[in-house]
């Protein structure tokens, strides 16, 4: 079972190591982890996709919550949300097959961002299913390299996974 966790963390040195270390130490599997700063530069958001049964996910969440740098954690899997990842894919493209590749790129609303004599770089965004499908469609041409960002996610509608925190020493 894959779950998507949206985690607000203090933008302090070592916070990524702490989170990643927790996963390896307790034997949890990270599917993907994407991190970047939020609208508040002192706070970063991590989107973590984790695979495991219910008990493991519960432990992951509780253990993450114990980290002092973790301000707030939400499992947004079951909330309506927009989930996206970005892929760059370098694919073999002899001049004879370029037209076919460009058709596939169009269907997936992806873009060609670089071209060399025998290869192309394609940029695509979307949910994991779409990215996987594009990758599969391009496989017959020969994939040279794939880079994926991992999922980032945001709740639909006006709701936010806000900064409000209930920790000690806030508002003191």
């Amino acid at each position: 079972m894959k779950r998507t966790l949206s985690v607000l963390v203090e933008n302090r040195p070592g916070v990524l190591t702490r989170v990643a270390g927790l996963f390896s130490r307790r034997g949890y599997n990270i599917d993907s982890l994407a991190v970047g700063r939020t609208e508040n530069p002192s706070i970063s958001r991590m989107t973590i996709v984790v695979d495991g049964d219910e008990q493991i996910i519960e432990q992951v969440c509780k253990q993450l919550n114990k980290l002092i740098d973790v301000i707030k954690l939400s499992d947004i899997t079951d909330d309506p949300h927009v989930g996206r990842e970005l892929m760059l894919i370098k694919v073999n493209a002899e001049p004879a097959v370029r037209g076919e590749i460009m058709q596939i790129v169009d269907i997936f609303r992806a873009r060609i961002v670089d071209i060399a004599r025998n290869s192309l770089i394609i940029e695509a965004t979307g949910d994991a299913d779409k990215i996987d499908a594009l990758e599969n469609s391009l496989r017959p041409f020969g994939i040279r390299e794939v880079v994926r960002t991992g999922k980032i996610a945001m709740l639909r509608g006006a709701r936010t996974k806000g900064m409000e925190a209930s920790g000690d020493g806030t508002g003191v």
Partner: protein
């Protein structure tokens, strides 16, 4: 008005004083020279240990015995890495210690400088929090935060790594600085609905058991535990961490549960219909085979750490809260009196049918501990190392008050006992402090005889000497065809001579009748004392539940019950 600026070293001292620190344990070295320069003239007492590991254990012993955080100091690199075992030990047993380490200068970090080690990286998995101070402006706030985090919620060790140049820079000093911990919640109120459910479950239960652990001692909930047990007529079992949280001489006490627990406690777990776990984490040494643990029971699990709930055993009624607050809320919801004579008598029967027992011939370690109990009237603070002697100490030295039994429970660190006793004796100078150790464990921090001797710290060391890594030998006897692979300590020194070389009085005991006079002499002599007791070499710890076994399948004296 211009505030006088202080050096980083002065700020550290002032902050420690503001946090109420009266004693620190440590060893100076290059990166902490400026700090030690100030420490030498400060009102804080510094105990110079002979190995940094012992400083960490001593800080832990101090914390366990006093309830206040213990502080240890080490220099960068090897000084800091030598603390790691002690820090890990405190982490596993949730004991608040503050480790202050020197670090190479800021500009030297990351260059593999002399005596550089990434100690915040190394200790990340074994600290509740750790900090590398990168600016003198953050120093005071970091120290304050470290003490706050170490001592609140589920306590634990916190490390502060301070580069050398920061200890000589200057900054204004304001204390306490403002705490800003948006991601840290230490106070959790017991949930009223959960408490109500727990109260209903207790009233419905025919055969409830109170299972208490270290969290009871941490939160000071021993009176509430006693009240709950007595008013609701609930027998009490404990983990090793819970020793002292309920009087072991109390008629409702059924013993320690688990691998070397009492038969009564282990049988009771197999029959109980309700376990009220308070400040426990259901360690594998307690549960044995998880699927067979308390098969008929509902479980109420009270713990301040939400991550403990459901980690090992599913809790039917979880209460995430401080143990004392949760028990007070629970007591308020329960009727004043309840009798459960049948269940109480059933446990009494098990206690009578399966008491702890040993063969009285020869020089038995159990006899030594029984005599120690008698001579100290059960009022000593006992610190143990790890192994057979530790289990005998648990079994034969009943403890009736919290913070009087100190042992490395979760990590199982040989070498803990003597330095922890040292810390306890410094924290509680009015008490008799006894370190019960074995010849294997003792040699893992034997250099601390120098510290005991230097400061005349009155620790009485009872060395149960069998010339083996005894617990290893016992496992080899039971599970590895009696092939005693490297568990015999053939090169042991004459421990009495070693003690005397450190100017510590010591006695050798080779016969049963010498035990009492030697213990008396140790207890009556001022200052530290070593009693080296040559116990029966192949004595085993019973009962024993084989690892991963079911609690009611105990081996007792070589027989399967």
């Amino acid at each position: 008005m211009e505030t006088k600026k202080l050096t980083g070293s002065e700020i550290i001292i002032k902050a420690l004083q503001a946090e109420g620190v009266d004693t620190v344990f440590g060893i100076p070295g290059g990166a902490v020279l400026p700090l030690y320069h100030e420490l030498a003239v400060a009102s804080i007492r510094h105990i110079l240990t002979r190995h940094e590991q012992a400083a960490a254990h001593a800080a832990e012993g101090y914390a366990r015995a006093s309830g206040k955080p213990g502080v240890c100091i080490a220099t960068s690199g090897p000084g800091a890495t030598n603390l790691v075992t002690g820090i890990a030990n405190a982490y596993m047993d949730s004991i608040p210690i503050i480790a202050i380490t020197g670090q190479v200068g800021l500009a030297m970090i990351g260059r593999d400088s002399f005596q550089e080690a990434d100690i915040t990286g190394i200790t990340m998995p074994v600290t509740k929090a750790n900090y590398l101070v990168k600016s003198i402006r953050d120093l005071a706030a970091t120290i304050h935060e470290a003490f706050y985090v170490a001592t609140t919620g589920r306590p634990g060790p916190v490390l502060i790594d301070i580069p050398k140049d920061i200890t000589t820079q200057r900054a204004a000093f304001h204390y306490p600085p403002r705490l800003r911990l948006p991601g840290y919640r230490s106070r959790v109120e017991p949930h009223a609905l959960q408490v109500a459910q727990a109260a209903a479950a207790i009233q419905a239960a025919e055969k409830p058991l109170l299972f208490i652990g270290g969290g009871v001692i941490t939160s000071g909930a021993h009176e509430e535990v006693r009240q709950l047990a007595e008013e609701q007529d609930i027998p009490v079992i404990m983990s090793m961490m819970g020793k002292g949280a309920f009087p072991e001489t109390h008629p409702l006490f059924a013993g320690m549960v688990g691998m070397h627990g009492t038969a009564a406690a282990n049988y009771a777990v197999c029959e109980t219909d309700l376990i009220i776990g308070v400040g426990v984490r259901f360690d594998d040494r307690v549960t044995g085979k998880i699927e067979a643990f308390a098969p008929r029971a509902k479980i109420i699990h009270i713990d301040i750490d939400a991550a403990e709930i459901g980690k090992v055993v599913p809790a039917h009624i979880p209460i995430v809260a401080d143990a004392r607050q949760a028990l007070q809320a629970l007591l308020a919801r329960l009727p004043e009196k309840r009798e459960r004579p049948a269940w109480r008598q059933r446990i009494r029967r098990w206690q009578e049918e399966h008491p702890l027992r040993y063969d009285e011939c020869g020089l038995k370690p159990q006899y030594v501990i029984e005599e120690l109990y008698r001579l100290t009237r059960g009022r000593a603070i006992i610190s143990t190392d790890v192994g057979q002697h530790q289990m005998w100490a648990v079994q034969y030295y009943p403890v009736d008050r919290p913070r009087a039994f100190l042992s490395s429970c979760g990590l199982g660190t040989m070498g803990f006992g003597v330095p922890a006793a040292m810390g306890a004796a410094v924290a509680r100078p009015d008490e008799t402090v006894v370190a019960i150790t074995g010849d294997g464990s003792f040699q893992m921090n034997i250099q601390e005889l120098a510290t005991l001797s230097h400061y005349r710290i009155p620790v009485k060391i009872i060395l149960l000497n069998n010339g083996y890594l005894g617990m290893v030998r016992q496992w080899q006897e039971f599970f590895f065809d009696r092939r005693y692979a490297y568990s015999e300590l053939a090169g042991n020194p004459d421990f009495v001579k070693v003690a005397e070389a450190y100017r510590l009085p010591a006695r050798l005991v080779a016969a049963r009748e010498e035990v009492v006079p030697a213990l008396q002499e140790a207890l009556e002599t001022d200052g530290p004392f070593l009693v080296d007791i040559l116990i029966d070499r192949e004595e085993n710890v019973f009962p024993m539940v084989p690892p991963g076994g079911t609690l009611n399948k105990m081996v007792t004296g070589g027989r399967q019950e």
